[in-house]
Structure formats: C-alpha cells, structure tokens
C-alpha cells in the first residue's frame, strides 16, 4: 500500500529500505520528512493537532501519487501522513520515491509534497502561549504547487 494516514509514528529507515527492497533496478531514492517546529510565525509552539477528512484524505493522497507516477517513471512511492496531537520534533509526513535515476526521484518527491500541501485535506491547530489557533495557508505553498502546472 503506497498511502497511509495514521496517528502512529513511522520508521523512516524501514520505509526507505522497503522502497528498493528486491528491486535492483532502483538507483535513486529521494525522500522527505516533515517535522513539527517549535516556532511558527514568531510564536512558540507547544504542540499542534492535525485534523483531517477521513476518506477524502486517503483518496487525495492516492490521486497525487497517481499523478506523480503518470509524470515520471517510478518504481515505488510511499506517502505517510499523521493526524492527531503532535509535539515539536515529532514527524508529521513522509514521502519516499524510488526511481532509476536521481532527477526523476527528486522531482516526483517534491511534486508530491507540493501537491499534498495544497490538496490533501489536513489542517493544523497550533497551541501557543497566546492560545490555540488554526494555521493559515501560505501563498508560497500555492505557488510551489502552481509551478508544476507550467512544466
């Protein structure tokens, strides 16, 4: 299964190893781990809670992976996104892509992250000394996703 939406943490080393396990045609595994930062917009962050839209979340991630597979020749793709309450330093998301060469693996990994950031239904609620507040979407995420439309 290439997509998981879960509360539990994940094993980055095992996930990366699995992408090339028994696939000796794989020459390049690009991966990304997103983590909870202890600062956001100038405020200290004690924790954050990730809300999501069960059902749609999985579908949207699977669709993003399909789009990446249609664009590049990939051997394996893995996306894991957590939900629930997380603290600074905790892992939020993993994206791993295995291909023959590095160019396509890097591009597909970044593409998946950019699309995930704008199309997967997750929302962050941050706990700061000033109280809890929902994180605003960033314009830079929209422009990061938009650049793939032009290419």
């Amino acid at each position: 299964m290439s997509v998981s939406v879960q509360q539990a943490d994940f094993d980055v080393g095992a996930e990366i190893a699995a992408l090339s396990q028994d696939r000796h045609e794989v020459g390049a595994v690009a991966s990304f781990v997103g983590l909870v930062r202890d600062i956001s917009g100038g405020s200290n962050v004690a924790a954050m809670t990730l809300e999501h839209y069960p059902g749609m979340t999985e579908k949207s991630l699977e669709e993003i992976v399909e789009q990446a597979r249609a664009r590049w020749s990939l051997y394996a793709v893995r996306v894991i996104h957590r939900f629930g309450r997380l603290e600074p330093g905790d892992r939020i998301v993993f994206v791993g892509v295995a291909g023959a060469h590095r160019g396509e693996s890097f591009a597909a990994c970044e593409f998946i992250m950019d699309y995930l950031k704008t199309r997967a239904p997750f929302w962050k609620l941050e706990e700061t000394p000033e109280g809890a507040h929902w994180v605003d979407a960033r314009d830079s995420d929209d422009s990061a996703a938009a650049r793939w439309e032009k290419e």
Binding site: G34, Y53, M113, W134
Partner: protein, 84 residues
C-alpha cells in the same frame, strides 16, 4: 432529498457545527448555490459568505462553485489546507 454536509477546522469552530443532514431546497443545485444558501442562515454562518476563503469537496473530491449537488451527495466545506 438530503445531502450530508461536513465542516472542518476553523470553519467547523466558527459555525459550531461539524456535520449535518440537509434537505436541498428548490433552487439549490450547485456547490455555490448551497454555500450562498447556508451563508444566509445568519449569525456565524456568514463565515461561508462570498469572499471568505472557503474550499469545497463533493463526494470527497475537491469541487468548484459550479459543480452540481444532488441528493445523496457528501459535501464538505473547509479552509485552505495546511498539512504536510
């Protein structure tokens, strides 16, 4: 003749509502029309008004204002996503 409507994140908090079953009134056949109808409920519901940055999904896929709504649909309204 009803649709299920879900609200998420800051929109859910603003409306004080996570989920409702809603009977489609006559004249409401698109996502945009549904959103406008709901925004007219008064009080906090103007969080759905035009100009507010609200996204919609129909049957768990991103949808635009002109997309149809038919009985049995699952419609969701939410703010721009911030995962990852």
């Amino acid at each position: 003749m009803t649709v299920k409507i879900l609200y998420f994140a800051s929109l859910k908090d603003a409306l004080g509502c996570a989920e409702e079953n809603f009977s489609l009134p006559s004249g409401v056949s698109t996502i945009g029309e549904l959103r406008n109808f709901l925004a007219e409920r008064g009080d906090n519901w103007n969080a759905l008004a035009e100009g507010r940055n609200v996204r919609a999904a129909r049957n768990q896929r991103m949808a635009s204002a002109s997309d149809s709504v038919v009985p049995g649909d699952e419609i969701a309204f939410f703010p721009p996503v911030t995962g990852g």
